[in-house]
Each structure stands twice: as C-alpha cells, then as structure tokens.
C-alpha cells in the first residue's frame, strides 16, 4: 500500500542545509496501523509531510497503492502536530469539520451525520458552534481529530494527535482510533511520543534513530486484535514490548544503532 524507499530530505532554507532525514525505507500494508516513534527532532514530521505529498523529498520515493506520491493523494487525512494552526480560525468548529466533506461532495444529510458523529466521538458536541480560538488547546486538537475521522479516509496520518489531551480522554481517543481502524480498514500511520500508546495502538512500531535518521527498529506488536485499556496494558507481552521500544528509543537518542533484538 505505502512504500517509502530511500527517502532523504534536506532543508535548504536557513544559512546551512540541514539533513532532516537520511535514508528511510519501509512499507505499510493496506489496512495496517503502524506507530512511529523517535527522538524529538529526528524527522517524524518531515517524513509524514513527504508521505502526504506536501513536501518533495530530496531523494528517494514515496509510493501509495503503486503510484508515486507527488501531491496529496485523495482519500488521505492528516492530523498535524501544530493542531492549533491547522484549524480555520474564521470558521466554527462545525464548519471546520464539514469543509473537507463538502469538497468530497457528500450530500448534506450525510455530512451533518458525519459531523455530529465525529464531534460526539471526541466529546465536543456542545462546542459545534464555537470558534476554534474559543477552545482550549486539547479541545482544538480534538477538533482536528474529528475532522480527520469525519473524512473517512483510506489513509490516516496522525502527528502526535493526543499530545494535548488529558489521560482519560487520551485513552478514549486511543480506543476510538482503533475502532475506526477496524471498522473502516483504513491504513494508519501514527506518530507518538508515548511508548505505551505506541504499543497499545499499533500492529507494528517503527522506531526512528536520531539524525542522521534511519529506521532503527521495526517491531511487530503481537497483541490480540481486541485490546482493552485495562487488560491489555497489564498483559505481560505488552510490558515486554514496551520495554523493548523504550530501550530502542534510548539507543536512538544516544545515537548509535543497536543490533535489532
């Protein structure tokens, strides 16, 4: 489904060129849910933008369903790390969520249904008429999430989407993502800093190294498909995987690629 091959990205904007990503190669099968973790500044956001076709890689290719990604492919939704800036300040929450659906030419009733469903799912039903800047940080982030899920994408890219919400809401949203993923069979790439979250959510966890960034480890999460906040997290296998990811990240931060476990 999604093939990233030899991806390199060099930023040329400043006084010196910065190589954000050195050489990334990995692939996602259709309908897979993969979590991406890595040290701060290692190039996760850069990678996501390249995959989304928002940025041309300096070298290497991204292919989606066999076709090279040169501009944002249809049927893809992205939740940006800078959630606040990704909302249209001049539109109400409802309009923010509905806008992409209009572009998709969905009929009015369907749109209304999708909007209220997704706002309900993120707990913002009461704020449909508020403007984004009347919301708290966590609420804004949830609007961005609602917009993505209302869109019913085939590919969903999420960049630290739960960073600003409280623990309880986070747990609820995690379950929401897994549920949507199971229901719609969508391919999900999920960036997070929370190791528990990565293991709990993903079918696979990709660990990126510190820069020069390469894929440091690719861990398959062999937990049952049906997961539950309480039991799954107490699972021994969970603890084991969690420890392994943590070790990899510590390695990544230290900067040397360890032998894969």
């Amino acid at each position: 489904m999604l093939e990233v091959t030899g991806l390199q990205k060099i930023y040329n904007g400043g006084a010196t060129a910065v190589e954000a990503v050195r050489d990334l190669t990995f692939s996602l099968a259709e309908g897979e849910l993969v979590c991406l973790v890595g040290p701060s500044g290692c190039g996760k956001t850069t990678l996501l933008k390249c995959i989304a076709g928002l940025m041309a890689p300096t070298d290497g290719t991204v292919e989606l369903a066999g076709r090279p990604v040169l501009s944002p492919p249809p049927g893809m939704a992205v939740v940006f790390q800078e959630y606040g800036r990704s909302l249209f300040a001049w539109m109400s929450v409802r309009d923010n969520v509905e806008l992409p659906l209009k572009e998709k030419k969905l009929p009015k009733e369907r749109r209304t249904a999708l909007v209220s469903e997704s706002l309900e799912a993120v707990g913002l039903t009461d704020f449909a008429d508020a403007y984004p800047w009347q919301l708290s940080g966590g609420m804004q982030q949830r609007v961005a999430i609602a917009r993505a899920i209302a869109y019913e994408p085939q590919v969903l890219l999420m960049d630290e989407p739960f960073a600003a919400v409280d623990a309880q809401t986070r747990a609820d949203l995690e379950d929401l993502v897994r549920q949507i993923w199971q229901r719609l069979g969508v391919t999900v790439l999920f960036v997070t800093h929370d190791i528990d979250e990565a293991v709990y959510l993903g079918e696979r966890v990709l660990v990126l190294s510190n820069s020069p960034t390469v894929v440091q480890d690719d861990i398959t999460v062999d937990l049952p498909a049906e997961r539950d906040q309480l039991t799954t997290r107490q699972d021994e296998r969970f603890t084991h995987l969690r420890a392994r990811v943590y070790a990899q990240i510590q390695q990544a931060k230290r900067g040397s690629a360890p032998p894969a476990a």
């Binding site: 990205k9 060099i10 930023y11 040329n12 400043g14 010196t16 910065v18 040290p39 820069s211 960034t213």
Partner: protein
Amino acid sequence: MSTATAPPPRVGPRRPGHRAGAHRLPSGLLGIAVLVLLWEAAPRIGVVPERYFPPVSEVLTTLAERATTAPFWEALGHTLYGWALGLSLAFVAAVVLGFVLGSTPRLRAFTTSTVDFLRPIPSVALIPLAVLLYGTDIRSTLLLVTYACFWLIYIQVLYGVADVDPVAEQTARSYGLGRLARVRHVVWPTTLPYLMTGLRLAASVGLILSITAQLIIGSPGIGQQITTAQQGGAIALVYAWIVATGILGVVINLGVRALERRVLRWHTSVRGEADA
C-alpha cells in the same frame, strides 16, 4: 543534564539556484519585454494615433538623447531629493504616531474621525496653501509629499500593530518586557510586513506627488520638465519623462524588495519561497 539531541548533519552551504529570487531578474525582464512590445505595437497598428502616442522605440530614443544632458540629471536629482526627504519625514512621523496611537486604543478612538476626515483631502488641492506658506521652494513639495505619504504608512502601521499575536505579546509581558521593549521586540517585527507594504506604496505615491507638485507649482524637477514638454506639444518627450519616472519606480521597488528580503527573512512570505 544530557538531553542533547545530536545535531542533524549540516550538508555544507546552501545549494544555490534553489530560491525564487534566482529567477527574479530574467522573468522580470520578460514582463518588461511584453510591455515594450505592446507599446511598440499599439501605435503602429493604429490602436491609438501614432502622433499622440509614439511607439516606445521613439520614446526611448528621445530618452536616450536627453539622458546625455545635464538638465536631465538635474531634474532627476531635484525630484529625488524632494521625494526622499518627504518620504523620510512621512515615514518617521507615521511610524511614531502609528505605534503610539495604534497601541493606545483610547487615543485611537479619539483620533479616528479626524484621520478619516483628513485622509481623503487631495494633496493637489492643498497646493495654493502650500505655496502661500512656503512659496515655490522645496518645502511646498515636501508638505505635499509628506501629507500624502503619511496616511498610507500610518494606516498600514495601525493594521500592523493590530496584527500582533496575542500569545507573543503575552509572552513578552510575562517576562517583564516593558512597553518600549515590547514595541521594539514584538510589535515592530509584526508590523514590519505591513510597514514594508506601506513603504512601497508611499514610495511611489511620494514620487508621483513630488512630480505633480513640480508640475503645478513649477519648482524645478521632472514635473516642470513634463509641463514644459506638454506645453510645447513635445509628446515623445513627455512619454520619455514618463518612462524615466517608471524606471525610477522600478528601481525604488527593487531597493525596497531587497530590504524586505533582509529584514523579513523570518517571515512566512519570504521564507516560504526560500525553503524546500
């Protein structure tokens, strides 16, 4: 404490040819070329009578002839002098007042009606008054140039001051930055893009008024030369002066743009075109 992120490798100096700026000159010339072609063609194919709108080749020849004479450069000098002085005065006054009034809502509320009343008064209509006050010397021209340019910059500054990001403003306040420090470090950079636009607008309006003032008052400069040419029916010469004025405008804009690329390199509008 070692939370150090190893720095991403810097891959040598920035690779050239990656900036929009690199294309600026050639494609700009293309635009000019199209204009020149149109201008050459319009009189030749009779869209306008050739006698009253000479083709550009004739105009440029006239211009080239004049450009070798001293009076040409004197006139240019006079015009630029009035322009530069008037624009600087307007700039300083508008920036100072714009910042003071823009960041003091109460003062602004009390002055808005007066400002809105004064802005639409044409500089040209003030000419008799200017002449009465200052005669035909440079101060008359300055008054007109300054009056017209002032409002342009002032309004732009007001909008710029209102554009300050509240989070940035609050950050500055919480770190104990005083009023002046906030103006310098927060309000000023935010206003800069607006100010640059204001400056570009005022630069050409100032040029226009510097010329118009000379045109009507008759103090020496391009305006006076244009009057003389018009009164003598020397149409090619009139257009030659117009071209000279236009070229001045282009040169001034190049200058302001260069300045902008320096002082606004952090701004979305400039950096967006620079990076990958």
